[in-house]
């Protein structure tokens, strides 16, 4: 019993360490990038895209490297289902409505859907190898390029003059990189690695003690835990009416989770595919992604409270099936 309590405490503390470390790491990396003269647009888009997903990526990578590949894949697929059905569902239910920007939504949603289909195809052919990994990482590079291009166009429309001033300002204000910033990047990275290691260890041990498969632990406990940044960002931005940030965070995170969260671990080692992941989890992930668009279209490009409740109900149904019927 004492062991279980200790592992649960370990899980909670490591989650906080992971989330805070990812925050410190990305913030200071952006600071260094800015000092080196990298465009604010590129830095902003990249930081937003990867920032909230680092905990999933970190735990998937650490899990794979420490031999618990199942837990890594489970965390990624579980996170993606939770992000849409759980987080967007809860946010739409609480805030009453999440409005969408048609152009951005279509791009991000299509990318999330295509990414899910790519993963399913790779899973269909068996374990995921380095060759698949290269395609996944390249696809993410292309997605980042699209995001940066779109942000540039938007900034150009909004204030071309302002951007010029900013860019010239950037070039003139190249400074030396502050030692404290480098130290914080290192501390953030170390915190992320140690936090993810404790997180995965506690998850694996809890699964062993409870007698449940590590995949289940990844699909639910770690998936929901590592998605805390997405939850707080999506919920609070939906409540404040910052709708683009709300839905963009979730869809961007799902694309990152698959292409990088599975892509990078597959680069260093073969990622095995569990039959149930291929026949149930990944199809559910695709179904939820499609359901999201159906609900948004039915709500005239808004995700309303009823749609939110449908998404949450879908997640509960999935969890019940996965935990009690198919396990």
């Amino acid at each position: 019993m004492l062991n279980i309590i200790l592992y649960i405490i370990g899980l909670v503390i490591s989650l906080i360490i992971v989330v805070k470390s990812a925050d410190v790491f990305v913030d200071n990396l952006v600071e260094i990038g800015s000092t080196l003269g990298i465009s604010e647009i590129i830095l902003g888009v990249t930081a937003s895209a990867i920032g909230t997903s680092l905990p999933e990526f970190g735990s998937a990578l650490i899990a794979s490297l420490s031999g618990s590949v199942d837990i890594g894949v489970g965390t990624v697929i579980g996170s993606n289902i939770w992000n849409i059905a759980g987080i967007l569902g809860i946010s739409a239910t609480v805030s009453g409505v999440i409005r969408t920007n048609k152009k951005g939504l279509t791009r991000d949603w299509l990318m999330t859907l295509i990414t899910g289909i790519i993963l399913l195809i790779f899973m269909f052919f068996g374990d995921i190898h380095w060759s698949a990994s290269i395609i996944m990482v390249a696809a993410y590079g292309y997605y980042l390029y699209l995001l940066i291009k779109s942000q540039r166009e938007q900034n150009h429309v909004n204030s071309s003059e302002e951007e010029k001033i900013d860019e010239s300002g950037n070039n003139q204000n190249k400074r030396n990189i502050d030692k404290k910033t480098i130290a914080l990047v290192v501390i953030g990275l170390i915190g992320l690695i140690i936090g993810c290691r404790i997180l995965v260890f506690s998850g694996v041990e809890l699964a062993r003690i409870a007698g449940i498969p590590a995949m289940i632990m990844g699909l639910f406990t770690l998936a929901i835990g590592t998605s805390i940044p997405e939850l707080v960002v999506t919920l609070s931005s939906a409540m404040k009416g910052l709708h683009d940030l709300s839905i963009g965070t979730v869809l961007g995170s799902n694309t990152f989770n698959i292409l990088i969260g599975i892509g990078i671990p597959a680069l260093v080692m073969t990622v095995p595919v569990e039959p149930l992941s291929l026949t149930f989890d990944a199809p559910v992930m695709l179904f939820i992604t499609i359901l999201l668009m159906v609900l948004i279209r039915a709500g005239k490009m808004k995700l309303n409270r009823i749609a939110g409740i449908i998404l949450v109900a879908s997640y509960i149904t999935y969890a019940v099936f996965r935990l009690f019927i198919l396990v």
């Binding site: 805070k20 925050d23 952006v30 930081a47 920032g51 805030s95 707080v232 409540m239 404040k240 910052l242």
Partner: protein, 142 residues
């Protein structure tokens, strides 16, 4: 009757709020203070850069709303005295504090959240009504 009016909005239902404000001030020598409060509270574990991004977006939105409010009021009530107040903090507390500091006679704001919304999101107008130092005109939105 009213000499100084505080018009509070978060950007929604501006037309209805302004329509009622204009009705109250028409033909009188009144000073209007438009207020927008940037709600800076975020949950624990919100990434710092996201918090900053939200702060920036909401501040920009607040400026746009106050500018639009001024423009619409000036169009109808020519020469009316208008002051913009953009603050950060808890919306209800800042509205009440500003009403006290500026010694306004009336606060105009909207109300119309459903019972579910009030439970889930809270109601700024309800909090203001309970601690306002002056009369409050709640514009009912259906």
């Amino acid at each position: 009757m009213y000499e100084k009016i505080l018009v509070a909005t978060m950007g929604e239902y501006m037309d209805e709020i302004l329509e009622n404000t204009i009705d109250v001030v028409s033909g009188k020598d009144v000073e209007i203070i438009g207020i927008y409060v940037v709600d800076i509270s975020v949950p624990f574990l919100t990434p710092v850069r996201v918090k900053n991004m939200m702060h920036k977006e909401l501040t920009m939105r607040g400026r746009e709303i106050l500018n639009s409010m001024e423009k619409q009021l000036q169009e109808v009530c020519k020469g009316i005295k208008f002051k913009k107040v953009l603050l950060e903090g808890n919306p209800a507390e800042e509205i009440v504090k500003t009403a006290e500091n500026e010694a306004v006679d009336l606060i105009v704001m909207s109300t119309g959240k459903s019972r579910v919304d009030k439970h889930l999101l809270g109601s700024v107008s309800e909090k203001v009504v309970h601690s306002a130092p002056c009369s409050v005109l709640l514009v009912r939105i259906n």
